[in-house]
């Protein structure tokens, strides 16, 4: 890590404190934008544990948002007389558990695919989950699911969810950071770079891939649970969205694929661009995201942090000649 860990923690705490002040000073529109930014950042980091660290870019992570949200909603709807905070915790637990089971189960076949095949297979998973959700009555996807209000009584729901997203985002970031610094994280990076050589060097590639997949799925699902509660009512199309699938990739690509903070930067930037800059021009969103993707691929495949890094490298004195 280029930053001294203690310094990094201090910076993160400072940023978190600053962000926490948001709802106290911002108008309601910007509080909602802030919610979206924090939610997207959390999703982006969760995605990057599998996509950026291990190199398995999933084109279908929205599946886990949907599974987590609907699992939580279906269970919560059947509980009565339970206090709202507890309901949320149960929802998070159930959503996470369902995503864990689903991801663990499909990891066996799907992690045998590499690169583009894996990406498309995950897109397929997302579409299939969406289809089942919409067509099987039990999931109430087409009808829609109501979520109980869980915000404390004397707190504005918008503020509550803003802080909840901030907390959740920090937890996800912390987990990803710990992974990155650990032996597990080093193994994931080596898998991304050259899976066969990594295996030759003794990295337990199958086990590590599966762990990254499940962790990523669970965190994504739990963020989805929070999202569903913040909406109050969801249908299939609220959560199983192709633009989410795409955005998750763009966040990491924009900020810097493979880095820890890149996805956060990318998420903040993209949400800002689409919600604030292009806010009124709703029709423009797809076009703008697509255009951004095209520009990134052609001009800046390393994203924002990649540009920063190449700028740093250019300023570094020439390496010592080979012995």
């Amino acid at each position: 890590m280029r930053l001294n860990p203690a310094l990094a923690v201090l910076l993160m705490v400072a940023c978190a404190a600053l962000l926490a002040l948001g709802p106290l000073v911002l108008p309601p529109f910007y509080i909602r934008v802030g919610q979206l930014m924090l939610y997207s950042a959390g999703l982006a980091v969760a995605w990057t544990i599998l996509g950026g660290f291990a190199g398995y870019a999933s084109f279908g992570h929205a599946a886990f948002i949907g599974v987590g949200a609907f699992a939580a909603g279906l269970v919560e709807a059947r509980l009565s007389g339970v206090s709202p905070p507890l309901l949320l915790l149960i929802g998070l637990a159930v959503g996470g558990a369902c995503c864990a089971v689903l991801s663990a189960a499909i990891s066996y076949p799907i992690l045998r695919l590499r690169g583009t095949f894996f990406a498309i297979a995950m897109l397929g998973v997302s579409h299939v989950c969406a289809e089942l959700n919409n067509n099987v009555d039990f999931f109430e996807g087409s009808l829609g699911l109501n979520f109980p209000a869980v915000a404390p009584k004397d707190l504005e729901p918008a503020t509550f969810f803003y802080w909840l997203y901030l907390l959740a985002g920090l937890v996800v970031l912390l987990i990803a950071w710990q992974i990155r610094r650990s032996r597990f994280g080093a193994g994931l990076l080596s898998i991304r770079e050259d899976e066969d050589t990594a295996r030759m060097l003794g990295v337990p590639t199958e086990r590590y891939k599966r762990m990254a997949f499940v962790i990523s799925a669970v965190l994504t699902g739990q963020l989805g649970v929070i999202y569903a509660h913040s909406l109050g009512y969801i249908t299939t199309d609220s959560v199983y969205r192709d633009d989410t699938n795409l955005s998750l990739i763009v966040y990491s690509l924009l900020g810097g694929m493979g880095t820890l903070f890149g996805p956060v930067i990318g998420a903040f930037m993209l949400v800002f661009i689409t919600q604030v800059v292009l806010g009124r021009l709703l029709d423009f969103h797809l076009f703008a995201t697509g255009l951004l993707l095209v520009i990134l691929v052609l001009a800046a495949p390393g994203g924002v942090l990649g540009l920063v890094r190449s700028f740093q490298l250019r300023r570094r004195p020439a390496a010592a000649p080979a012995e």
């Binding site: 076949p109 583009t116 076009f287 095209v294």
Partner: protein
Amino acid sequence: MNLIAQTLADGLVLGGIYALAAVGFSLIFGVLHVINLSHGILVLLGAYLALIFSKALGIDPLLTLPLVMAVLFAVGYVYQRFLIQHAVDRSQLGSMLLTFGVALMLQNVMIWVFSPDMRNITPSWAFTSFHIGAVNFDAVRVSALLASLVLLCCLALLLKFSPLGRVIRATAQQTMAARLCGVNVRHVYALTFAVSAAFAGAAGIVIGIILPFSPADEATWTLNAFVVVVLGGVGSPAGALLGGLLLGIVSTLTAQYIGPSFPNVTMFLLLVLLLLVRPTGLLGNAFSASR
């Protein structure tokens, strides 16, 4: 017995169309090693162009085929030569993302220009049907199928016997050697993409006359193409035909016997199964050396 025969017949008809819709995608994958996620959009572009041309010129949609194919040929050439080629030089994921981005942009443009509503280009003779034995065929679907088969044959003949076809196959099999023989590989790649786009457009017309379409369908047609390629094999019209027919039959059988809302599920399960068991498809890669 009648029901299953009818279902199979419907599946074959649908399958032929799937095959035409996928063959361009297959060719690009085999020759350029690019997964073109904007394939579905090119198909839809064909459908919308047919809509415009047939209204403007007052002719049957199927007759706009040559014009639409020509337009898409040009579009495809420029798209590949000046945009995708740069991403291809970087990485496979890069070209996938680029084409994904373009697909979204074009989808948005189509929504602006044509509105998100469903359209179709039903010809005037749409409602006639006939039967062979106990199986019912409807004229539009049959003509769509015939058009598909004829076009697939033309492509197969083009690839096998024409100079262009030979150059494409050579470049696909041994790119470096082709370069050393003086082949302008970028030009060949662009021509391949152009051919692929033309056929995608043709498929769009064929699809448009039997099904309602809207900009939101583009992902479905791209995914369909991908499944057909995985099923039947990369790079050949025969592989596309086999994969398409298989997909068509599985779709109709699922719709009939499991439920009309589940064709995607079965298709996807079939896809994953095949990716695990035989990822090169039933006919394998048409451009790789024999084992």
